[in-house]
Subunit: 237 residues, 2 copies
DNA sequence: TCCGTTCGGCGTATGACGTAAACAGTTTGC
DNA sequence: GCAAACTGTTTACGTCATACGCCGAACGGA
């Protein structure tokens, strides 16, 4: 009835076999992950190559393969090591707790934009990933929601935070001036077929850049409003 | 005051310069995009290489560069060509319209899972991408929401549909049996530190696989509930 | 009609990438 | 001390995106 645990995931859980024979190891998965993260933070996920990470550590490329099965594995390690920043104590009120959770998450994504580009391979299975999940599940525990409903809430919040961050970061990433996109659309779009979009652009509400944080909080409040409806219906009915 | 339009985006808007001298072109961006999509649908986005796309079209690798500036550009074309499936007529009621929009979007993502993996480079700027936006904006037009609020709603729905699809598809992708993940967690997670998560797993609500479509609709309804609150507050107050 | 310009498709070449395999040096257990 | 086990390195291979130069096709002007 044993579960087959992928090797690197085991390592991240501290399941390191004690050293026996041979030379001492000069690295460990965490240091490798930190080096990769340093590169990704500076030059983007695309700049993370085995060679570059090895160089950052002053070691040959192939040395990494003693600690990590391959590049996919390296991504797993990066996600784990880079997923800090979760606060210790959350509010007891479920709504406040969820707000805090989302803000922490958002801060993480803005600090490490590459997280959004890592091709995710399955549900969370490493300690810090689970820390995030634990905090969220715990925060919802006194909400009165059923278990599937709580999972649904998690999905929604997770998706919202990621979506918001992805949009804001991609704008920066595309190197567009704030009014670059509206100008482009006005130039290209057939005014009849895209009447509604153009009408929105004409209001000028796009050019004046609202505070992204404010936008984020507004949307979050709306989502939590919806969830609160559900919570209340579960409490009453 | 001219706007600099990226070459391939111009092509997609039909801004093809009329043929002049030289041999007739044997391809066009749309056929290239279709070939790439055929490959991505079958073997994933990772299998889309210039060589492979060219082979699919019975042409040499370098021929593609006459139509597409590079691989990033190819992705833009793929997104554009693959973004069909939007219905013609939407309900006039904003909520029903948004439901239809989300369902169409979800269907698209399940038909072409690679869409979620394409590194997106900026806001939508091609015809079909804008069709989606037009439909959504139009659907919200009689909601009474302000323009920024409508954009917020769009972001939320977009994020939710993508997040839901990403989760469901990544589970399939990781090749996990339905109970694979819970088993793994139970094996690895410290029962004290991850008490809440483990409590959720114990309910067994995870192993029995709910209909994903039903889950999707449930979550969507909750989000729309939240938006409806906002709509009503704008109508009354 | 003919020629020069222009352009489409192809072949080759380059440098980066991920990683398999063989190797050499070091530590440990017997 | 010797062999096993384990370390990091070197070399090598196949694949990738793509820069460059060539050839021949098609058209415009003469």
């Amino acid at each position: 009835m044993d579960v087959e645990v992928p090797r690197t995931i085991g390592l991240l859980w501290g399941r390191d076999e004690p050293g026996r024979r041979g030379p001492k190891r000069s690295l460990d998965v965490v240091r490798i992950g930190e080096a990769a993260i340093r590169i990704a933070d500076k030059d983007g996920l695309g700049a993370v190559s085995m060679k570059r990470v090895a160089a950052e550590l002053g070691v040959s490329t192939m040395a990494l393969y003693r600690y990590v099965e391959g590049k996919d594995d390296l991504f797993v390690v990066m996600l784990e090591v880079g997923s800090g920043g979760l606060r210790e104590k959350f509010s007891t009120d479920w709504r406040a707790a969820m707000e805090e959770w989302c803000r922490d998450y958002r801060a993480l994504l803005f600090a490490h934009p590459w997280v959004l580009q890592v091709p995710l391979a399955g549900p969370p299975a490493t300690p810090r990933q689970l820390d995030w999940m634990e905090a969220a599940v715990l925060g919802l525990e006194d909400s009165g929601l059923t278990v599937p409903e709580r999972m649904q809430v998690l999905l929604q919040l997770n998706a919202y935070v990621r979506g918001d961050a992805a949009l804001n970061l991609s704008l920066v990433d595309a190197g567009m001036s704030p009014d670059g996109w509206p100008r482009l659309i006005r130039e290209l779009a057939d005014p009849e077929r895209y009447a509604a979009v153009l009408r929105v652009l004409e209001t000028g509400e796009f050019d004046k850049e609202d505070d992204p944080m404010e936008q984020f909080e507004f949307g979050l409040a709306r989502i939590l409003d919806g969830i609160e409806l559900l919570v209340e219906s579960r409490r009453k009915g």
